[in-house]
């Protein structure tokens, strides 16, 4: 594997008699999204603050491109810290400055850019974050979600190479949480920075993360991909992850990917080798264009509405569903063959066109005259119990075709 961009070697941090980090070792790779998960109060923020130098370790060293940041000279430290931005858990916005002034602050204070250049850059970030209408308001005059977006804009306005996000979704409703995670993922793809974030949004955070680090009982107990994390066998999972995943199922009706696999094995493991089942993969087509035109919140609301509709419809016939990627929802119909599943799907498509699209289209309508057209795709594949679920889903993806389309003309006629 390539050399890590940032590496913790045996980092120990104590506050008085309390040990927060005990011999922590971890690696963060360039250009990736690394997510640190762990229970509240276990030292995730402390860990993140070590990277930017707000806290110094009692023992151990932190390497940046192989160089110990504790031994860097002033110039070396300035060059290092120039590349990093930090988004605080509570936003840390200046309440005596307006939204515009908050975002512009790092550029005004640390660069020699002209007023016009600063204005252009700040306005670009503000527009991307859908904050144009509140630029002259103070943080206390805008909602918590907007404050998060202001903090995000401020963190990104200097075009940093590394961005540290300390619980960027805390205190947000489920739609906003996904919108913020989506925004981070989109910006990371667009600007290519290395992102390190602390999040409890399991499993949603898996969709945007390349690597997961699990902090448990003062140590890092797991480092690896989200797929590897799905199979983690550790008390951390029992104490923390399962409860969060269970809550997710209760709230949305959609299973986490791990629960989805467990249910898959439980329901289909009893089947005889020749018995079949059907997997259906739905997708909201071209999510990036939807985000570009309607914004992150609306896009997340649409995928949530679609998921909820699918879960309600197929749950009635024993099906179970899970979000597979940022815009795809997979459904297993364990008691149906291909012929029956086709008939169920036809009913679903009819209901979706008659009712479901109305829910989704609410988000796609700007005003009485303007709206945004979108398509929903669906694909089916037949599977057998001994076949890996991933390959069945992949086959369903291959079979995807349009099953419903929201057209502005239809809406006007309706």
């Amino acid at each position: 594997m390539e050399n890590p961009l940032i590496e913790f070697q045996n980092i120990t941090k104590r506050f008085g008699n309390r040990t927060i980090l005990d011999g922590v070792n971890l690696k963060i790779y360039e250009g990736q999204v690394t997510t640190i998960i762990g229970k509240s109060g276990t030292g995730k923020s402390v860990l993140l603050k070590h990277i930017i130098g707000l806290l110094k370790p009692d023992e151990g060293r932190i390497l940046f491109n192989g160089q110990d940041i504790g031994n860097m000279g002033k110039k070396g430290w300035n060059d290092y810290s120039d590349q990093i931005s930090y988004m605080f858990q509570n936003n840390a916005l200046f309440d005596s400055l307006t939204v515009y002034e908050n975002v512009a602050l790092p550029l005004k204070q640390t660069t020699k850019m002209s007023k016009r250049e600063i204005d252009e850059k700040v306005m670009a970030r503000i527009e991307q974050s859908e904050l144009t209408e509140v630029i002259h308001k103070y943080p206390s005059e805008i909602s918590g979600g907007m404050q998060k977006r202001v903090a995000l804009s401020r963190a990104l306005v200097t075009d940093p190479n590394i961005v540290l996000f300390d619980e960027p979704t805390t205190g947000q409703d489920p739609i906003r949480k996904n919108a913020i995670l989506g925004m981070i993922a989109e910006y990371q793809r667009k600007f290519g920075f290395t992102a390190v974030l602390i999040s409890h949004e399991i499993p949603d955070v898996y969709f945007i993360s390349n690597r997961i680090l699990a902090l448990y009982d003062t140590k890092i107990v797991f480092q690896g991909t989200p797929e590897e994390f799905e199979n983690l066998n550790h008390p951390f999972r029992d104490e923390f992850i399962q409860s969060l995943e269970g809550l997710q199922v209760e709230l949305t009706g959609l299973y986490s990917k791990r629960h989805f696999k467990v249910r898959y094995q439980a329901d289909l493991g009893k089947k005889k080798p020749h018995e079949t089942y059907v997997a259906v993969l739905f997708a909201l087509e071209d999510m990036e264009t939807i985000i570009e035109n309607l914004g992150h919140d609306a896009a997340q609301e649409m995928i949530r509405a679609l998921g909820s509709y699918i879960s309600k419809h197929f749950g009635a016939v024993g099906g179970f569903s899970s979000r597979q990627t940022i815009n795809e929802i997979g459904t297993i119909l364990p008691f149906s063959n291909l012929h029956e599943a086709e008939s169920i799907l036809v009913d679903f498509i009819r209901d979706l066109k008659e009712e479901g699209l109305c829910d989704l289209s609410t988000e796609a309508t700007f005003n009485d005259d303007e709206c945004f057209e979108f398509r929903i795709l669906g694909g089916m594949s037949e599977g057998k119990p001994q076949v890996e679920i991933e390959s069945i889903i992949e086959f369903a993806r291959f079979n995807q075709k349009e099953i419903a389309r929201f057209q502005c003309e239809t809406r006007k006629q309706g």
């Binding site: 603050k49 930017i52 130098g53 707000l54 300035n78 810290s81 120039d82 990093i84 931005s85 930090y86 605080f88 509570n90 840390a92 916005l93 200046f94 005596s96 602050l105 790092p106 204070q109 640390t110 401020r154 200097t158």
Partner: protein, 266 residues
């Protein structure tokens, strides 16, 4: 053994207290030095002007009000004291010298401490506990340059100006009681004011004002900046206690330093 501990305890406590005092004094001196050096930058000018408005212009009304009544009460007290010796004519001298040399700088500094100093501590303290100061560090903005230096510079500008305003209004207050209410001759009052005040008195008053400005702004900013380091409380309570400490320490330092500076000036 227990007996020995109880005998030594007050001495130990006094030693700890003294060490903590020396420690804090050293930290505050370094804090002031860093902040002072960082004043002299072009980018600081707008922030300094803004702080002059908050510390200076917005304190003007209260300083004028207090100045007026201080002058009036001085006029009243001194008139009835001087008349016993048949010297009511020197009321102008007594009022103006008291104000310019002592009461002007001291009362102005105490009023600004109460109004602007406490607000400095609270504002900086809240910025500290809400991680705004950490945010500045992560943005590579020196918090001392950004938050502290403009306040110290603005205090050094504002204190002497407000002191001058206090002196002027105080002399008018003395005129109101001495001349308008008690019937002293207006010409005598102003002649005494003009003839008794020398340039040395005015510059002495301004020197005191500048010393008070440095002390008050440093103490108030220092207390707010390190509000999170308090061992006796946390969060909002720490900010509240820091504000109280800042005001008390500032007032004590104003009076102590007033004596020291006066002894050098005379």
């Amino acid at each position: 053994m227990k007996q020995k501990i109880s005998i030594m305890s007050p001495i130990n406590a006094a030693g700890r207290w003294a060490l903590r005092g020396v420690d804090e004094f050293g930290a505050a001196a370094i804090f002031l030095l860093r902040a002072f050096v960082l004043i002299f930058r072009i980018k600081q000018i707008p922030s300094i002007i803004q702080q002059v408005y908050y510390i200076g212009a917005r304190s003007a009304n209260i300083v004028m009000l207090v100045g007026l009544f201080t002058g009036m009460v001085l006029g009243l007290q001194l008139y009835y004291t001087l008349i016993k010796f048949g010297s009511a004519g020197v009321l102008g001298s007594a009022v103006s010298l008291s104000l310019v040399r002592e009461l002007g700088p001291v009362m102005t500094a105490i009023m600004i401490t109460a109004r602007a100093g406490s607000s400095m501590t609270t504002e900086i303290g809240i910025q500290r506990i809400s991680e705004q100061i950490d945010a500045l560090s992560t943005m590579r903005i020196d918090p001392i340059r950004f938050l502290i230096s403009p306040r110290i510079a603005a205090s050094i500008i504002s204190f002497p100006l407000l002191t001058a305003l206090f002196d002027l209004i105080g002399i008018v207050g003395g005129y109101i009681t001495g001349v308008a209410l008690l019937g002293l001759d207006a010409g005598t009052y102003f002649y005494r004011v003009e003839s008794s005040i020398e340039m040395q008195d005015i510059t002495g008053g301004f020197v005191k004002a500048i010393v008070f400005a440095v002390l008050v702004s440093t103490v108030c900013c220092f207390q707010g900046y390190f509000a999170h380091m308090r061992k006796d409380s946390y969060g909002a309570k720490a900010v509240g206690l820091s504000t109280t400490t800042a005001v008390v320490v500032s007032c004590v330092l104003i009076l102590v330093s007033d004596y020291v500076v006066t002894s050098f000036l005379l």
